[in-house]
Symmetry: C2
Subunit: 81 residues, 2 copies
């Protein structure tokens, strides 16, 4: 079983990396892009013996304690079978 | 309209950052985790005047030309309305 964790900056937090990518994209002629924000993405391969609820709980604890900084970041966990 | 781009290392490519996170998680007592791989995640806010096909095409071109290194990375694009 696999858990996907998406970590994004909270909406009020400045994202200079995203701004730099947006600026580069505009310089290279990409049109129609209003904004870009960068986040992090983790694939967590879990022991197949865990059931879905336990896998979700473990991945959520990992996300909140290790992967995300809750002061400035939000996270979202998805379980993929 | 928003496009989500997921960039991951190709499966044969070593991911030292993921390995370090996995090792930390084990030291901190997380059980049942077989492997962790880290990727990148981008939210691209597109002009609402683009239709879904145009938005997908633009985000895919951005992913392949700027966001991912096709030598070692794969990418996946999703459109969210």
């Amino acid at each position: 079983m696999k858990a996907l964790v998406f970590v994004t900056l909270k909406s009020g937090v400045l994202d200079p990396q995203g701004k730099a990518i947006h600026h580069s994209a505009e310089s290279l002629g990409f049109a129609g892009i209003n904004d870009i924000r960068q986040g992090k993405y983790f694939e967590i391969f879990l022991d197949p013996s865990l059931d879905e609820a336990a896998a979700f709980a473990e991945a959520t604890r990992l996300a909140s304690e290790i992967l995300a900084n809750p002061v400035i970041e939000d996270y979202r966990v998805e379980i993929v079978k």
